[in-house]
């Protein structure tokens, strides 16, 4: 999303978006008075395109496109510093999480590599029932086209006997796969209604 | 002395009774809850329109008979509200009220009255928002219960002696 000097607040205001964020996160975003405590607490502010305080402000203004296209929501590590210190008791981390899920749904994920890592992780869980660390990293790095990342760690880990070469398998893997399928099939939103739009294959696992 | 029992001429048409005609009487102490209701009004906190307020000096003034009579004669719900415990303008009036209303609550079923039609609560003069919440919740509760048939339609007896009146 390009930063422009003039934001046409009225035209770009999406009130449904505000309501959806509030429903998905269970938080009242109008309580935010922009004190900046979350931004000051956030360990990732240096990397965000919009600091978290501004993400909250953009949500208040219903600026759906900017928010869902921002890198901030995908760089949030869910460390809870913002939530812990919010003077208005807003669970800010939960708002960020809701926004991540919404950006997946609307196919506007700004950092596909992070999503890809999460997807790879979930695929590993879906296949084996557990995460196979030794398998996950190389596969991800291959797919991310940076095969030599963390290559430096390998010899030492090998020496320490920390690399396993076979995934530990959950016996009832079928059950795990079923959980994935069911969640994918009839996604229940908070009100129990089926979700309006299915995930596109690009953004799904 | 004038007879204040319900007007015998009032139509006892059950089918006409809709939730539109729900009437709730609220006994509010002058110092706290009446002020709280005023505050809610000043702040324009919207509320259901079923409540009719009777101003009393203190919840300590509440004779449980007022509540029983109201419900027996067909008011759909009774809400009593006063100052928070320890914040009574008359020091202890609401303590008396609390004991009496607890006792009354235990007796209402014996009179054939659903205890859900009666509620007492404490709302201070500054708690406009709390008052809005109380009124809204209680009105919704009475709407769910529907109109109160009272005693008159069950027994057909309109001549219950009015004990407190002389």
């Amino acid at each position: 999303m390009e930063r422009t000097n003039t934001l046409s607040i009225r035209q770009s205001r999406d009130t449904d978006f505000i309501r959806e964020v509030e429903e998905a996160s269970g938080q009242d975003v109008s309580k935010c008075y922009q004190c900046g405590n979350c931004m000051g607490s956030c360990a990732y502010t240096f990397a965000y395109d919009y600091p978290v305080t501004q993400i909250m402000r953009l949500v208040q203004l219903g600026q759906k496109d900017i928010v869902l296209g921002s890198s901030a929501i995908w760089l949030c590590a869910n460390c809870q510093a913002c939530t812990t210190r919010c003077p208005n008791d807003i669970d800010v981390a939960r708002v960020m999480e809701a926004l991540r899920i919404m950006s997946r749904k609307s196919d506007t994920v700004s950092l596909p590599d992070i999503q890809a890592f999460y997807d790879e992780f979930l695929r590993s869980v879906k296949t084996f029932g557990r995460v196979f660390e030794t398998g996950l990293l190389p596969i991800y790095n291959l797919r991310a086209k940076k095969p030599f990342t963390d290559f430096d760690l390998a010899p030492r880990l090998l020496m320490k006997g920390k690399l396993t070469f076979f995934p530990a398998l959950v016996k009832k893997r079928k059950k795990i796969a079923e959980i994935f399928e069911v969640v994918k099939r009839d996604r229940f939103s908070k009100d129990g209604k089926a979700r309006p739009e299915p995930l596109s294959s690009k953004t799904d696992i | 002395m004038k007879d204040l029992s319900p007007r015998s001429s009032a139509p006892a048409d059950e089918t006409a009774a809709t939730t539109q005609g729900i009437k709730i009487v609220g006994f509010l102490c002058n110092w706290c809850s009446y002020g709280g209701a005023d505050t809610a009004g000043v702040c324009r906190f919207k509320q259901p329109t079923d409540l009719r307020v009777v101003r009393i000096p203190c919840t300590g003034r509440m004779d449980p008979l007022f509540i029983a009579k109201s419900l027996i004669y067909g008011v759909d719900g009774v809400l009593v509200s006063g100052c928070h415990p320890r914040d009574c303008h008359y020091a202890v009036g609401n303590f008396y009220a609390r004991r009496r209303m607890e006792a009354l609550k235990a007796f209402l079923p014996f009179m054939g009255i659903d205890t859900q039609r009666f509620r007492y609560t404490w709302v201070s003069a500054s708690e406009g928002q709390q008052w809005q919440k109380v009124v809204t919740e209680f009105s919704e509760q009475i709407h769910r219960l529907g109109p109160n048939p009272g005693l008159k339609q069950r027994s057909g007896d309109h001549s219950i002696p009015s004990i407190a009146l002389r």
Partner: protein
Amino acid sequence: MRIGVFVCNCGTNIAGTVDTAKVASEALTFADVVYATNYMYTCSEPGQQEIQRAIGEHGLQGVVVAACSPRMHEPTFRRAVEKAGLNKYMFEMANIREHVSWIGNDKAANTAKAADLVRMAVAKLRFNQPLFSSKMPVNKRLLVIGGGVAGIQAALDCADGGMDVVMVERKQYIGGKMAQLDKTFPTIDCSSCILGPKMVDVSQKENITLYASSEIESISGYIGNFTVDIRKKATYVNWDACTGCGACMEKCPAKNTPDVFNENLGSARAINIPFPQAIPKKAVIDARHCRQLNGKKCGVCAKICPVKAIDFEMKDTIVTEKVGAIIAATGYDLFDHSVYGEYGAGRYPDVITGIQYERILSASGPYGGHIQRPSDGKEPKNIVFLACVGSRDASVGRPYCSGVCCMYIAKQAILTKDHLPESNSYVFYMDIRAPGKNYDEFVRRAQEEYGVQYIRGRVAKIYPRGDRMVVQGADTLLGVQVEVEADLVVLATGIESSAGAGELAEKLRISYDQYGFYMESHPKLRPVETNTAGVYLAGACQGPKDIPSSVAQGSAAASKVQSLFAHDTIETNPQVALVNERNCIACGKCIQVCPFGAIQWKELRGGIKKAEVLPTVCQGCGVCNATCPPKAVQLQHATDNQLLAEVNELCA
């Protein structure tokens, strides 16, 4: 009874959502109503004249006004009908504004509800009786609770007016929080220079009786005639003898007594006069730290005292005072920042509160007015101020603005530059609230003339790095995270209600809000009165306030007392309980339940006992009425018949 009904439009306040003409026309169908109309502004002078005209023209014996809350205009309309020759209790109000038009937009439902409320009022009015007040003498003595600047102002104003004043102060000195301040905004006056003379006046006025180190034990009575028990706490020093020479303080060996006046920066002695200008200048022994009082061998002060004033055996005593009015001026406390884990929860010595910084700045403070760090005594170069610590923070239960912090931070930052020209001050704020006269200009001066850096953002965390404190936060205007390595951090802790405010409110029978601040009678029009007649408020006990506002309210409360005391007698409220002797069965229950002892036995001829209400003592709560088994006691103007008549209208 011939009843007239007046339905007020209140401009569009009521008429906007209630069909007032319809309500009036419906009122004409109610029993005994002979006249009904609606009017634009019934409370206006022509509106009141209209009522008076109708009373004469239609021979009305009772009047109902359907308008705003009776808590607002009942006295207005009572006066109006009284002028037209009716007894003022032959009047009822139906509240169709706060309880109808302002809380719903459904005009049909509102109109029906308004008509119901008018019908209830008419039904009640039909049982109304003329009531008559009697007169009662007023005891023209004032009690002021709290000796801060608001209480001092109120006491001096009344004493200047020739009234006797009793002042009760919990601490051993008067002056309150202001006595601890170094300078005051927005003019940088020296606090003790402007407060000191007033404190001296209090001690020198012959018609002011000061009880310091004393608290209110109990209060009984009512406007014009209160009886107050005051607990004089044991000071272990005979104040009649003590000259305040301070010899005892110098020799006291208990050197690790916390210096409360200096906000625990440094230490005091167990026997102490907190500051040189203290009024009364008398020593007090802190029983928790005195060696002698804790079973150790000492008694040094008793030996050194030239006037033999020390009395280790002293006990609390109770004195009784009779007064006609009370001003509560109990002030405030400061928020305890130990709940802020992210700011160190009080475990970092160089993270201090604003009031501690006042003591540091003060020439009579623990460091003699030289700014230095509590941890190592070094002069700080970079000082960070944090606004809103315990203010505007719902997560710590303090969602309100304390109103003074923006200003006192600006003042402290300016003073810091004066003391240490090489220093840099940084202020983290959310909004600057400077609405007073010359206030915003003052904050601008801090920035423009004194170079104080203002950073808009709440501080996220304070932690030590080496011997400095890192203040980590955000500049929301830039949208970046910022940190300042500070030598000293000052937390502008907010205002909260005074400890024990709730207990005192119960004794005074006044209300307080959820934060413990005392409730005024009306937020706009009766800001110094309470709902208990004869009890007035001054200063921060009613809500956060700065010095000018506290002084103004002190004077305002004093003027209320003076207008009360301008009369030798006051009219009693006739809405009191009355016993119908014929029905009284002499069970005595009413006597037991009366909270005011207003009911007593009366012996008739032949030794027959009956209950009797003392109308000047009765406060009109009606507990007796609800208790009386044969309903012989009836609360005038709220009798069983009157209240049931109202309910009865809804049963139809």
